[in-house]
């Protein structure tokens, strides 16, 4: 472990933010130190069982610098991203809270930002969100009260100016590292780098891109971004992911909004004997290519329903260069929580039936 990643006063205590950092999070530390960061995405469960979240997070342990908690991605209903983040921070993981503007208005979103930060969330990714037509409940009302840009600005002013959108004062600001998404693979192509600039002006400190399968196109985009000097104002992470088969690739291309997969990729998958293994190999190759592109600060591995391969992909691609990301980290309120946990263990167990009986006999 890097010596700057431990608190000099107490190795078990949470880290203090370094000068110039806006969060206490490890993702910001890793990025600002100039290391190649790796993040991944947790497939949210369709369940109310916290263990499912813990299980799904445990496979990333020691391989990623941040875990994205997706907010009903593709407009499909799952466990909420705020709840997933609450569970993850409780266990010491470093989640990246995604907020989509599709489902919540500005009142709910600002409340969520405060709540999430109170739970120990250090990174927030501001998204517009897919349209409701893409999901399992196309009859839902699309909210889109804010858009990703005004959401970024709102979050930034909550953090820096310590004020809500209305101007009302916040007593303790949400000290978060703000992120956004980019899609270099959708028209209007020449406006995309300028849109990134706009996002940086609105407050984005890091960005994660849509699935990158067209490396030449991404290289072209990055060239323009580097020319504009945007990579110095913002950390750019490229989105990658293994394709399970040529069939899934075709399905994704036509059904997932904003995904661009060139024909030669699909042809290559079709030609392979074991399509799944080929998909993994392809992902590793793309990661190695992306790593060398100027201005790229990390990768975001989206292995939907193939999360178990993330560790292998990250290891084989060698993007970590031997570095091992933190497994877990303490929180600011860990001491209070630990105290309560101790009490819980020592406390006499309360059995509702017995308590009712006692209450009945006392009267």
């Amino acid at each position: 472990m890097n010596p700057v990643d431990t608190n000099p006063l107490d190795a078990g205590a949470p880290l203090d933010p370094l000068p110039g950092h806006s969060s206490r999070g490890r993702l910001e530390r890793v990025l600002r130190r100039g290391e190649f960061a790796v993040t991944s995405e947790l497939n949210p469960p369709d369940s109310a069982d916290p263990n499912e979240v813990y299980e799904r997070a445990s496979i990333f342990e020691g391989w990623v610098d941040g875990i994205n908690a997706v907010d009903a991605s593709g407009a499909n209903c799952h466990m909420s991203s705020v709840a997933i983040c609450a569970l993850l921070t409780r266990m010491g993981y470093a989640p990246i809270l995604q907020i989509a503007c599709r489902d919540k208005n500005r009142i709910a979103i600002q409340g969520d930002i405060l709540g999430a930060s109170a739970m120990g969330v250090q990174n927030i990714l501001c998204l517009t969100g897919d349209g409701v037509q893409a999901g399992d409940q196309p009859g839902a009302k699309p909210v889109f009260d804010l858009d990703c840009m005004s959401l970024l600005e709102t979050a930034r002013s909550m953090r820096d100016d310590e004020r809500f959108l209305s101007g009302r004062k916040i007593t303790y600001p949400p000290n978060v590292f703000l992120g956004a998404a980019i899609n270099p693979f959708a028209p209007p192509y020449d406006f995309r780098p300028m849109r990134l600039k706009k996002k940086i002006e609105a407050g984005a400190q890091f960005v994660q891109s849509q699935y990158c399968y067209d490396v030449p196109m991404f290289r072209e985009y990055m060239k323009r971004v580097v020319d504009m000097g945007l990579n110095e104002q913002c950390f750019i992470m490229a989105g990658v992911g293994p394709l399970a088969s040529a069939k899934t690739a075709r399905w994704m291309r036509s059904n997932v909004p904003g995904v661009h997969i060139p024909d030669h990729i699909i042809k290559r998958l079709e030609g392979a004997e074991k399509q799944k293994a080929e998909g993994k190999r392809l992902c590793i190759e793309i990661m190695q290519e992306i790593k060398e592109i100027e201005g790229v600060s990390g990768v975001h591995v989206m292995a939907y329903r193939q999360e178990e391969f993330v560790a292998e992909i990250v290891h084989d691609s060698g993007v970590l260069k031997g570095r091992q990301p933190w497994k877990r980290e303490p929180l600011a309120d860990s001491a209070i929580v630990a105290e309560r946990m101790e009490e819980l263990v020592d406390e006499q167990k309360q059995i509702p039936a017995e308590m009712a009986e006692n209450a009945a006999s006392n009267t």
């Binding site: 349209g131 005004s150 600005e153 002006e201």
Partner: protein, 189 residues
């Protein structure tokens, strides 16, 4: 065991039986007409930029008149005219805080996500909308309109504030005029 009937499955079942399929369903109740006029306006964004500048100056010139009549009394007729004219040209949604000169003369409120700060990541490869596949993306149009305008490419980079929903159905022309007049006075004094 019989399958559990949920609201969704019930809807799916009843829908399958019906012959009725609504045409051109839009979550935002888009006006059912072609985009011909809207696209024509974007193609002539430079002209409309020039025209609006003159028009805004005229309104500002009339500020004493508006003040004499009373802005609140002028509101109703001006809103009516504004709704008709902008409705025809831009498919205006009367958000009351017009951003047309910053969005290449393509009204951002026609975007199904009502994005006011640029295209989302879901734009199809052919430049059409993710939500309404038959509609050209409002923001692809905005970019092409802005590149035709004199100040369009600078203005499109301004981060727009979230829509103030309480200003809906009010006149954007009068608000802009009143604000400009106030600014002019504050400069003078």
């Amino acid at each position: 065991m019989a399958r559990l009937e949920t609201w969704t499955s019930k809807l799916r079942r009843t829908n399958a039986k019906s012959d009725f399929q609504p045409a051109n369903v839009s979550p935002h109740r888009r006006k059912q007409r072609s985009f011909t006029i809207r696209l024509w306006v974007v193609r002539h964004a430079r002209f409309f930029e020039w025209f609006y500048e003159k028009f805004a100056n005229l309104f500002l010139f009339l500020h004493p008149f508006w003040k004499a009549v009373g802005y609140h009394r002028a509101e109703k007729p001006v809103t009516f005219v504004e709704r008709q004219v902008k409705g025809l040209l831009f498919d205006c949604r009367m958000c009351g805080q017009c951003a047309l000169s910053s969005t290449g003369m393509s009204c951002p409120m026609n975007c199904p996500k009502q994005l006011r700060n640029g295209p989302c990541g879901g734009v199809r490869a052919n430049g059409n909308c993710e939500v309404e596949p038959d509609m050209p993306c409002v923001w692809v149009q905005a970019w092409s309109g802005a590149s035709k305008m004199q100040t369009g490419t600078d203005k499109i980079m301004a981060v727009q504030k979230p829509v103030d929903q309480s200003l809906r159905e009010t006149s954007s022309w009068l608000r802009v005029t009143a604000e400009a007049a106030q600014e002019k006075e504050s400069v003078k004094s």
